[in-house]
Amino acid sequence: MLKVSIYRYNPDIDSAPYMQDFQLDTQGKDIMVLDVLEQLKAEDPTLVFRRSCREGVCGSDGVNINGKNGLACVTPLSECVKNNTLILRPLPGLPVIRDLVIDMAQFYAQYEKIQPYLINDTPAPAIERLQSPEDREKLDGLYECILCACCSTSCPSFWWNPEKFIGPAGLLQAYRFLADTRDTATEERLSKLDDPFSVFRCHGIQNCVAVCPKSLNPTQAIGHIRTMLLSSGT
């Protein structure tokens, strides 16, 4: 039997959050953490969590699994269970709405700040803006982000200053548009990042790299942004 300890909090009923223990018979199978949650929800329908695609594409089921952020749907028990115990908590640093569901408004506010869309003030061509394969390659490792928030909520700089520091997810996307040869707002984008918080609160501890379920590297993207700021600012 697997011992599963889950963070429970229903603000309408509970005065404070608590950990609830469950026992689950996995029949020796190496199932995903999301399967565990689904089975437990069948037993206790009051258990609340987000999920959608169940294959690591939608980014809905980011949770803190035995102390490490990850997507429940693509994390097998063999990768995370220690001492036959699975501890599930909401992603840290953002307000909890209920059980494992967090309020991601602050995360999206930072994403919105970096203007996550192509800006191009030249007349649009008849069909599409073409890009050479080499230029397109520059976006690899950037565009794959699914905004699950595993990285930003594992970052202490984001915990302490979520309203000022953009966070690894937002900065990875900021660089995605800075690196895009079709975007013409590079200088305007850079001028909004030059303050002491937005980019420079990153101290390079790489928690974001360690937890990213898509194996992306926000620290490297932040390094590229710094280099661009340095060459445009000096």
Partner: protein
């Protein structure tokens, strides 16, 4: 909305970051010079230490290193204080407390810089 902060060292994230890196290099060089002196001088006593600091080069390097330490500490402590002594974590009392701590930190840094100059060029 733009993010600003008036108590940071250079007011710009880029300049603070650059100063932090350059001052780090200066401090490393100074540390290596002093370490080499201590290792390769057979007997280090007051006379030899005074002799070392009579040279203009080492005096300038020392002043440069202390100024680097001052800038490095200002930027670093500002980072720590704006992480942990914030309204978000402590409520409204955090702002006066942080300003007090920052001014105290700046005063201490000023004393160290003035003291260094007094030691090197004082009588």
């Amino acid at each position: 909305m733009a993010v600003t902060n008036v108590t940071s060292f250079g007011r710009s994230g880029l300049s603070d970051w650059l100063v932090q890196r350059v001052s780090g290099v200066v401090l490393t060089v100074y540390l290596l010079v002093i370490a080499a002196y201590l290792l390769f001088t057979p007997e280090v006593d007051y006379a030899s230490w005074k002799e070392l600091h009579s040279g203009l080069c080492i005096r300038l390097l020392t002043v440069f290193a202390v100024l680097s330490l001052a800038a490095h500490a200002w930027i670093g402590m500002w980072g720590v204080l704006t992480d942990y002594v914030t309204v978000r974590l402590m409520g409204p009392k955090a702002t006066p407390l942080r300003v007090f701590l920052q001014l105290g930190m700046i005063a201490v840094i000023f004393v160290y810089v003035a003291w260094t100059v007094a030691i090197l060029w004082g009588k």
